[in-house]
């Protein structure tokens, strides 16, 4: 994944602290996620066979991933036969090199882009800029992000952290630098804002000779690429330029059109709460006299094969990027997307990024812990990714990785101590007695207001309960002498 996009992101808890202070962000997120949540619930609620659809979505992905090698080769063969060219990129660097070269071969100095998470994942815009090529985002929200010199913070609505007043300001300030300026006297009426964006983008669409797109699905049996979007800007990108370069991950393949049907039902209801997606573009290679003359498909691995090798972790490759998990996540709703330090935010990002990028950085190691394990994400996932389970799996991986450190962290010592006590009931009783006695000495009016060390992170904002004078076990032994028997001395 890109080293450039979110370089030097701090660990999640530190980034969260700043985000939580941003009242504008908090308000925007609460309103936006609340609205999408309600809309999704309504759209899903009216589908009687939703659970069967989810199960089909999961099973089809799982089967496809099991035979991914076969489907990818079939896809390559069909795309090539239809006049397209397929390029394989092992990692982000290779993918960047391929795309930059393809653009340079056309002799053009600018490209229009339509929403592609993978190009953000690989840091393509930065690589293009370095090669002197201007890349213009044409998805409305991506345009807002680009003009604001910002990062996307949501999978579906990358500018969810901006409200219309901020968008107006960004348009007025930055549109002129990139092309058609915003009309003077632009207000924050959504229709006027959309009109300003339309005028700005129209010029780009009509001029551009090269487009770079993402892909939602790839149908192996015919070599067809599918893009699903709501604005029609994608359709412009996919049809007007002479050269189309589509960049995507190897996991996007589905075997047949019949399989696609399942996802075209699951995706719009899960992501925007719509029954049907507004603009679904499909294309197979190139067509004479219609659309791009040249079509390149760049298939990126970027850690996906490694992820596929992990029996628990591989289910994240089922993801169809609907963002339902973000919209229901109580953590995401409060900290926003930037806190996750990756183009993939929210619960899915917390399980995807540490697998695609590895857990070498502190930021990536902190991601699996950025969840209260409430399970709301799993409940809504249209392809049934058990995100809490993968989070726990990755937490264990991080802990095992840290086990190799010579000096154990205080947390490890505490966990080991807890295991000792909890595997020796007599020690537990002693600890309960000591804890009860100790805390009653420091408690004021029955409350523990301040605890030392890491426990202060609890008592900074919450009172702590005072351990009971008599534990339940002690009460039971006292009141039920007949059941009393020595605690087993089994040890850890």
């Amino acid at each position: 994944m890109s080293d450039t996009t979110f370089l030097g992101m701090p660990a999640f808890p530190v980034a969260a602290r700043d985000a939580l202070r941003d009242s504008q962000l908090r308000g925007n997120l609460a309103r936006a996620t609340g609205t999408i949540r309600t809309r999704r619930a309504a759209a899903v609620g009216e589908q009687d066979d939703w659970e069967e659809l989810r199960e089909a979505g999961r099973a089809l992905k799982e089967r496809t991933l099991r035979h991914l090698d076969r489907y990818l080769l079939q896809l390559e063969e069909k795309v090539t036969a239809a006049g397209g060219q397929v390029h394989w990129a092992r990692d982000a660097e290779e993918a960047r090199r391929i795309v930059v070269q393809l653009v340079q071969d056309t002799g053009e100095r600018e490209v229009v882009k339509v929403k592609s998470m993978v190009t953000q994942e690989i840091g393509l815009n930065e690589a293009l800029a370095e090669a002197g090529i201007d890349a213009y985002e044409t998805d409305l929200a991506e345009l807002i992000v680009q003009l604001g010199h910002d990062q996307p913070s949501h999978i579906l609505v990358p500018a969810i952290h901006r409200n219309r007043a901020e968008i107006r300001e960004i348009f007025l300030r930055s549109m002129g630098e990139y092309g058609t300026p915003a009309p003077a006297g632009l207000d924050d009426d959504p229709r006027r804002l959309a009109e300003a964006a339309r005028r700005h983008l129209r010029e780009k669409f009509l001029r551009a000779k090269v487009a770079v797109s993402g892909v939602n699905f790839l149908v192996a049996e015919t070599g067809t690429a599918v893009v699903v979007e709501s604005e029609g800007n994608g359709r412009m990108c996919l049809t007007l330029p002479e050269t189309l370069i589509s960049v995507t991950g190897i996991e996007k393949v589905v075997p047949t059109w019949q399989d696609l049907e399942v996802y075209l039902q699951l995706l719009p209801r899960s992501s925007t709460g719509e029954r049907m997606n507004p603009y679904t573009s499909t294309w197979t290679g190139t067509t004479a006299e219609d659309g791009p003359r040249t079509f390149h498909l760049v298939l990126v691995d970027g850690g996906r094969t490694d992820t596929l090798a992990d029996p628990v972790g591989r289910q994240v490759l089922n993801c169809i990027r609907c963002s339902a998990c973000l919209n229901v996540c109580p953590v995401y709703e409060r900290v926003g997307g930037h806190t996750y330090g990756s183009v993939y935010p929210g619960p899915i990002g917390a399980v995807l990024s540490p697998q695609l990028r590895g857990t070498d950085s502190e930021a990536d190691r902190s991601l699996p812990f950025a969840s209260s394990l409430c399970g709301a994400c799993y409940e809504v996932c249209p392809v049934k990714i058990d995100i809490p389970r993968v989070l726990l799996h990755l937490r264990a991986r991080v802990v095992e990785q840290e086990r190799e450190r010579r000096l154990p962290k205080p947390e490890r010592l505490a966990m080991t101590a807890a295991r000792w006590v909890l595997t020796r009931p007599s020690w537990l009783s002693a600890a309960q007695r000591a804890g009860g006695l100790g805390s009653r000495l420091v408690a004021r009016r029955g409350r523990l207001g301040r605890l030392p060390g890491p426990l202060s992170r609890w008592t900074d904002t919450r009172d702590a309960p005072v351990p009971a004078a008599e534990s339940f076990s002690a009460w039971w032994r006292r009141t039920h002498p007949e059941t009393r028997r020595p605690a087993r001395r089994r040890q850890s």
């Binding site: 209260s372 394990l373 726990l392 807890a418 992170r457 904002t461 009172d463 702590a464 339940f472 087993r488």
Partner: protein, 270 residues
Amino acid sequence: MRIALFITCLNDTLFPATGRAVVTLLERLGCRVEFPQGQTCCGQMHFNTGYQRDCVPLVRRFTEVFAGYDAVVTPSGSCAGMVREQYGRVAELSGDARLSTAVQEAPPVYELSEFLVDVLGVTDVGAYFPHRVTYHPTCHSLRMLGVGDRPLALLRAVRGIDLVELGAAQQCCGFGGTFALKNADTSVAMCTDKVRHVLDTGADVLCAGDNSCLMHIGGTLSRLRTGVRVMHLAEILASTETGPDHAAAAASAGVTGPAARRAVERTKTP
């Protein structure tokens, strides 16, 4: 039927009144409850924090302590969820085939409301609790166990209760075990919204089936001196016209939250 109570380490140490309420309630419903000695912790804290290997001896202990019972009942949705959802995985991870077998053969573990409604087949447990109460469905009981509206059905049948609906009830309170310490700021932000919804109800008592979540929300309610107290479902269901009315006792003690329990205990300890 041999019924074993799994009290959980948190309740044993911090909230013994909940355990006593479970015993009172089940005995009132005609059950004989046993409390197997040597039980400690389900291992959830270790497992959920990534210390899965440290969890193995706790899983082994649990299967040994509760072997031979017909049912295990526990006043915690998340601990029940740990045993039901994760024990098989821990056993598999340990590579110990005997542990896997022991987990498979372990008695069924029921969260309290499941035990009452599904096993005993009751919703009216004969409780009396004349207070305004709102109920927070904890995440693990809701999504891991799928207890559904069992706790609400039980509460609705309580005489004298003024049960009010909690806004955004299904949203997590932000406890999440070690999440509350590792991501304290986010945890607090989540809890603040939960508390706002609780206060909006005008309830005197916030009820839930997990004292861990109640410790978190209650700790915040107490710090803010809101006067709203928290009670485990078992304690409300154990209250009768003549029996222990924990809330009334707590109110008379003039303190709230966990401290109230302590005050209650003090008055009761013979």
